[in-house]
C-alpha cells in the first residue's frame, strides 16, 4: 500500500518490471484511459488538479520506460535503490583515464562501463568528506533519469570529493554559475552557447566525456 508519489514507474503503469515493449504500451494506453480529462473513472475520488497530476505522472513513467536505454538505466538505479544503498549514498565513479563512449555504444552501456558502484555515504576513499550528497530517493527516479541533469552531475562531483571551489578554479567558471547549473536554475545562466560551454567544461573536469554529456543534455532539452 503506497501513495502515488512513492510508486516507481512500473507501479504507476501497473506493469511487471519484466514487461515487454508491448506490455508497457498497453499499460500506458490503459492508464491514459483511466486519467483522461473526459473520463469518469476518477469521478468523486480525484479533483481535476489531482487527475491532471496523475496523468502527468503516467506520461513521465512512460517516457522513462518506452526508451530501452533509459529503461535500462532506470532498472539499474531501481535495483540499487531497492537494495537500500542509493538512499544512503552517492554514486561513485572509479577514477581512471578519461572515458569516451565507444562506437555504437548506448548511454547505458557507457554508464555501466564507467564502473558505477555504490558506497554508503561517508568518506571518499582518499579521506575527504564534502557536503552531503543529494539523496536519490526511489521516487525521484520516477521523474526520469537524465545523466546530464545538474543534480546528477553534482552527485558525481561530490562522490569524487571535489569541492565546488576547486571545480570553479579548474574550469575558470564563476562559482555562482556552477551552483546554478547544479541546482538546475537554468534561468540564472546566460543561455545557449555559454551553457553548453559550461557543461563541457564541467564534464571534462570530472573526467566524463563532454561530447556525450552535451548530446544527452541537448536531446533531453528537446523532449
Amino acid at each position: 500500500m503506497k501513495k502515488l508519489q512513492e510508486l516507481n514507474c512500473y507501479q504507476v503503469l501497473n506493469v511487471e518490471p519484466s514487461g515487454s515493449r508491448e506490455d508497457i504500451e498497453k499499460a500506458y494506453l490503459l492508464a491514459l484511459a483511466t486519467f483522461r480529462p473526459d473520463g469518469f473513472a476518477t469521478y468523486s475520488v480525484l479533483s481535476e488538479d489531482e487527475r491532471e497530476a496523475s496523468l502527468k505522472r503516467v506520461e513521465q513513467a512512460f517516457e522513462v520506460l518506452r526508451d530501452p536505454a533509459k529503461r535500462r538505466m532506470y532498472d539499474q538505479l531501481l535495483g540499487q535503490a531497492e537494495s537500500q544503498q542509493v538512499l544512503a549514498g552517492s554514486l561513485v565513479v572509479t577514477s581512471g583515464p578519461p572515458a569516451r563512449p565507444e562506437v555504437n555504444e548506448t548511454p547505458a552501456g557507457f554508464w555501466r562501463r564507467l564502473g558505477f558502484h555504490l558506497r554508503p555515504r561517508g568518506k571518499h576513499p582518499d579521506g575527504t568528506v564534502s557536503e552531503k550528497a543529494p539523496q536519490l530517493a526511489a521516487s525521484s527516479l520516477a521523474e526520469g533519469y537524465v545523466l546530464s541533469r545538474g543534480r546528477y552531475l553534482k552527485t558525481i562531483r561530490l562522490s569524487r570529493g571535489i569541492p565546488l571551489e576547486t571545480l570553479a578554479q579548474n574550469t575558470r567558471i564563476s562559482i555562482n554559475h556552477l551552483r546554478a547549473l547544479e541546482e538546475e536554475e537554468y534561468g540564472l545562466l546566460p543561455s545557449g552557447a555559454y551553457l553548453h560551454y559550461m557543461l563541457a567544461a564541467y564534464a571534462k573536469s570530472l573526467k566524463l566525456d563532454p561530447d556525450w554529456i552535451l548530446k544527452d543534455f541537448k536531446s533531453n532539452q528537446e523532449s
Binding site: M1, L7, D23, K26, L30, T34, F40, Y43, V45
Partner: protein, 333 residues
C-alpha cells in the same frame, strides 16, 4: 446442461461466504447473485440469502412466486436461519428469501442484525451467497465486510462508479472501526468516527494519524485492510470502453482508496434479461449459451479460484487475459 469445470477431487470442502453489493440500485446485483448461484449449484451446494431487507427481489429472479418461510420467520418468529431455507426447484440450490411483510425489516435493530450475521456465518453450506441491498447503510456494509469474498457490481456510467467509491470508502471505515472494537483500541475510535463525518479524509491520512499515536495499532489496522480484497464486476456492458472502465476503476481504488480491488469480469447487456424477469423465468436456464451467460460462468469460475486460494491469491496484471475476455464477451459488431 451446463458445461462446467468440476472442482478437483482433492479440493478441501470449505465453506465460503460471498456477498454481492453495488452501492447504487439497479446495477444488477440481484441478477448476478441469482445466476451465480444457479451456475455454482451445478456442482456445489449453494444457499442464497436475500439480505436486501428493505426490498428483497432474489426470489423473483429465480422465478419463485410463492414462498412459505421467509426471513421474517427467522427474525420475528424465532426460527433458526437453517429452518427458513427453502428449495428453489433447482437441485442443490436453496433460498433464504426476504419478506415483504414486516415493515421494520429495512431498519433492523442491532441485536437482530447481530443474530442474523452470526447465523449466516454458521450456515452449513459450501457456498453462501448474500444479495445485499443498495446504499451505504450499515445494514448493507456490515453484511459485505463479514463475507470471505465481497463482490461489487457497477454499471458503465458515472453515477454507479461514484456510488461504488462511496461504498468502498464507507466499508473501509466500517472495517477499521470493527477492528478497533475487536482489539479494544477504543482510543483510536474517535479518529475513525471523525473521518466519517468530515470531508472524506484519505485512508492513508487516517492511518498516518494513527501511526503517529500508536504504530503497532496502525500495523494491525493495515493488516486488516490488506485482507479486505473485494472483487469488481462491470455489468451491462455494451462496448470495449465499458470493459476498460473495469480496469480503470480497479486502478483508481488500488492507488487512491488503499483497497486491493480485483477486476473479475464484465457481463454484456442483454434485453433478454428483462424479458426473462417478466416471465418469471431464470435467465441462465433459458439462455444457457448467450454471451451474458458465458460471462457469468467465467466469473463464477474465477471467483471460485480466488476463494480457494484465500489469502494466497495474488492478482496478476495480465493484459493478455483482458484481450481474451474482450473477444469472448462482445457481440461482433
Amino acid at each position: 446442461m451446463f458445461d462446467t469445470v468440476c472442482p478437483s477431487a482433492d479440493h478441501e470442502q470449505k465453506r465460503f461466504l460471498w456477498a454481492v453489493a453495488g452501492g447504487k440500485g439497479g446495477t444488477g446485483k440481484t441478477f448476478i447473485a441469482a445466476n451465480l448461484g444457479l451456475q455454482l449449484s451445478a456442482y456445489l451446494d449453494v444457499t442464497l440469502v436475500d439480505a436486501d431487507l428493505g426490498s428483497p427481489n432474489l426470489h423473483t429472479f429465480l422465478g419463485i412466486k410463492n414462498r412459505e418461510l421467509t426471513l421474517s420467520d427467522f427474525l420475528y418468529r424465532r426460527l433458526q436461519l437453517e429452518q427458513v431455507a427453502s428449495d428453489t426447484g433447482h437441485s442443490k440450490l436453496r433460498l433464504i428469501s426476504g419478506s415483504s411483510e414486516s415493515l421494520g425489516l429495512g431498519n433492523l435493530q442491532h441485536f437482530r442484525k447481530q443474530r442474523m450475521l452470526r447465523q449466516i456465518r454458521g450456515l452449513n453450506s459450501p457456498i453462501t451467497l448474500l444479495d445485499i441491498g443498495a446504499g451505504t447503510y450499515f445494514n448493507c456494509i456490515d453484511f459485505f465486510i463479514i463475507a470471505d469474498l465481497g463482490i461489487l457490481v457497477i454499471n458503465p456510467e458515472p453515477a454507479s462508479v461514484e456510488n461504488a467509491y462511496q461504498f468502498i470508502r464507507a466499508a473501509t471505515l466500517r472495517l477499521l472501526e470493527s477492528t478497533i472494537r475487536k482489539y479494544r483500541l477504543q482510543h483510536l475510535l474517535e479518529r475513525v468516527v471523525e473521518s466519517r463525518n468530515e470531508v472524506p479524509r484519505s485512508i492513508y491520512g487516517l492511518l498516518e494519524l494513527v501511526a503517529k499515536e500508536d504504530p503497532s495499532s496502525a500495523d494491525l489496522l493495515a493488516d486488516e485492510l490488506e485482507a479486505f480484497r473485494p472483487c469488481l464486476i462491470v455489468n451491462k456492458v455494451r462496448k470495449d470502453d465499458d470493459i476498460v472502465l473495469g480496469r480503470s476503476v480497479t486502478d483508481v481504488v488500488n492507488k487512491f482508496l488503499a483497497v486491493q480491488l480485483h477486476f473479475v469480469g464484465a457481463i454484456p447487456f442483454d434485453d433478454a434479461v428483462d424479458a426473462c424477469l417478466k416471465r418469471f423465468s431464470p435467465y441462465l436456464m433459458s439462455h444457457p449459451y448467450s454471451q451474458t451467460t458465458c460471462a457469468v460462468k467465467l466469473i463464477a469460475e474465477r471467483l471460485m479460484t480466488i476463494s480457494r486460494a484465500g489469502r494466497r491469491f495474488i492478482p496478476t496484471t495480465d493484459a493478455s487475459d483482458e484481450e481474451a475476455t474482450r473477444t469472448e464477451l462482445l457481440p461482433s459488431s
